[in-house]
């Protein structure tokens, strides 16, 4: 199986990038929920101690305070683990950030299946579904360190609330250094004529490796990366789906309401297409090493390839 070059974790790319951006954007402040040593907001604190605010373990309060700071024209970047932002502080986001369109950037760290042995409480893979359902919220899940850097710049330039999905483990590099993320745009990763695969976040690297392996078997995968899950690039999704007439979605996230759900909604209305939703099933997670989790929960590159192979065989 083709493997991509190793890269940094998205969390490290995040910590480095916000520190860089803060040099020229005085509006940026960081609010940390006592996880900065894990999420790398520690890098920002070291450089800009006066613009770093330790909020302690007070997530509901932290998200509310971020809204207050945003009302003064600051751009608060709120960082902690995804589960504590999306679940614990959901009401604060809904009432003070989403509905009033407060310019707050929500950094959901340790999202997905691979959160370092933490297990059921911390493994957050319904975050995209939950945040996508919230009016006014933009939802972005970058694939690698390059896209993380570019996307952070874009969402800070954008005026409004954004949920940004960050992960813990190192991620292979998918994009060239000159890649530029465009908010709301899907990206074609490779062309193929047998099946269209849509993926998002760090799962795109696994989908890419799966597609390269399937090419050796004569299956041509048209792979489209969808970093902005909301608003969805409906035109690109319809065009890519129509091209092959068969769709597989894959994500490190529940198949209920995430990328697969968003694309199913878009295609059902605009271009009904036979479709398989690949990703995490209707389950909670558990503790374990990355490889074992990816295998058991069926979203490793190999298992992703198998899902695509089955979809093509059964079309």
């Amino acid at each position: 199986m083709t493997t991509l070059a190793p890269g940094k974790s998205l969390r490290l790319a995040f910590g480095e990038t916000i520190t860089d951006l803060a040099a020229t954007d005085r509006r940026i402040v960081v609010l940390d929920g006592d996880t900065g040593s894990s999420t790398f907001t520690s890098l920002f604190e070291a450089e800009y101690p006066d613009r770093f605010f330790q909020m302690g373990i007070t997530e509901q309060n932290m998200l509310g305070m971020a809204a207050g700071m945003a009302s003064l024209g600051l751009v608060p970047i709120v960082s902690t683990f995804s589960c504590f932002i999306v679940s614990r502080a959901h009401d604060s986001i809904r009432v003070l950030i989403a509905q009033p369109r407060a310019n707050v950037k929500l950094m959901g760290g340790y999202a997905g299946l691979l959160a370092g042995m933490t297990g059921k409480t911390h493994l957050m893979f319904d975050d995209v579904s939950i945040m996508r359902a919230m009016a006014n919220m933009t939802v972005v899940a970058p694939a690698d360190e390059v896209e993380t850097r570019s996307a952070l710049k874009a969402i800070i330039e954008y005026d409004g609330p954004v949920y940004f999905r960050l992960t813990r483990s190192d991620s292979p590099i998918l994009f060239d250094d000159d890649y530029e993320f465009e908010l709301g745009k899907a990206v074609t990763i490779r062309n193929g004529t047998d099946v269209t695969v849509f993926s998002t976040g760090v799962q795109t690297a696994r989908a890419y490796e799966a597609a390269e392996a399937l090419a050796l078997e004569g299956i041509g995968v048209h792979l489209v990366h969808v970093p902005t899950i909301k608003p969805l690039d409906v035109d690109a999704v319809v065009a890519a789906a129509t091209k092959t007439g068969l769709v597989v979605t894959t994500e490190e996230h529940t198949i209920i309401g995430g990328l697969g759900g968003a694309i199913a909604e878009a295609l059902a209305v605009n271009a009904p297409t036979p479709m398989i939703l690949h990703g995490l099933q209707d389950v909670f997670g558990e503790s374990g090493p990355d490889g074992a989790l990816l295998d058991k929960y069926g979203i490793s590159a190999e298992k992703t390839a198998a899902a695509i192979r089955d979809a093509v065989a059964n079309r």
Partner: protein, 290 residues
């Protein structure tokens, strides 16, 4: 920060509070819904804030250096709308659109709709967090205004209040003043001697003790004694090095005899007879002001 508005006397403030109680009941009756008890317990304090304490510009509601006010007990919105209207942020006649479709005057305050609303609120405890963020942001951007935030005593049940109280003390936010409307009742409340006996969420000095324990400077006042409210809030603004919580002892439904201390008037619409009695007690003609 030390500027005091001298255009209005305590007697003027009392008159605005009286007018506010009239307008509140009119709006609630007209909308056939809304809260009364909490707005009435807060009315005198809001009159002092809007006519004696807050440095604001009704003709420039977004003036960056204005003092901020956040009504964290957002279900008392009609009291705030009434005070904003009396202060000139929008026409008094608009109060009768309260709770109607397409109105700027929503059931709970919406900072995107209403001139003079500095922070949305309505889910209890969150306006307080927003206010603390404004205060921290003011410090971070070198702005010298005071943020006032009003909470209910029932609202202090919420855990997020104490998360924020901890963080505010940690950052020594002396540019924020929290006023706790301690009217001793909440919507349904804790059961007392009988099912009709609804008792205070915090007895004696419990509420003051809690804020003090979290590192706040605590002051207490009679929330209906206008000169005392004026003096206490002025003093609260001067405190340095720590945030201030003002425990305001109030009466839910204050100003109308049959509402005072009666939890059922938390949110209830008066019938014609009750409305007439209230107007009479408030020194208004029985038909109201509108």
């Amino acid at each position: 920060m030390t500027q005091t508005m001298t255009d209005y006397t305590p007697d003027d403030m009392a008159e605005f509070a009286r007018q506010a109680r009239v307008r509140i009941l009119e709006a609630v009756k007209h909308a056939n819904g809304g809260h009364v008890g909490g707005p009435y317990s807060a009315a005198d304090m809001l009159a002092v804030l809007y006519f004696g304490i807050l440095d604001i510009r009704p003709d420039e509601p977004d003036w960056p250096d204005r003092d901020r006010f956040v009504l964290s007990k957002g279900h008392s919105s009609i009291a705030l709308y009434t005070m904003l209207a009396l202060r000139g942020f929008f026409p008094v006649e608009e109060l009768l659109t309260f709770d109607s479709i397409d109105s700027r005057l929503q059931g709970h305050p919406d900072m995107t709709l209403t001139p003079g609303i500095d922070m949305s609120s309505g889910s209890l405890g969150l306006g307080f967090a927003g206010a603390l963020g404004i205060a921290l942001g003011a410090r971070a951007t070198g702005r010298d205004f005071t943020t006032f935030v009003m909470l209910g005593d029932g609202e202090c049940n919420e855990g997020v209040v104490w998360e924020g109280a901890h963080v505010a003390a940690r950052y020594a936010l002396d540019n924020v003043v929290a006023i706790v409307d301690h009217n001793k009742l909440q919507q349904f409340g804790w059961t007392g001697e009988s099912l009709d006996d609804r008792i205070t969420p915090y007895t004696g000095t419990q509420l003051a003790d809690r804020w003090r324990a979290f590192g706040w400077e605590v002051m207490e006042m009679d929330g209906h004694d206008i000169p005392e409210v004026l003096a206490t809030l002025e003093a609260a603004k001067q405190v340095e090095g720590r945030p201030v919580a003002v425990i305001a002892h109030t009466v839910k439904g204050k100003g109308v005899s049959y509402m005072e201390g009666n939890y059922t008037w938390h949110s209830r619409v008066p019938n014609d007879e009750e409305f007439a009695i209230a107007m009479r007690e408030l020194g208004e003609s029985e038909g109201g002001a509108s």
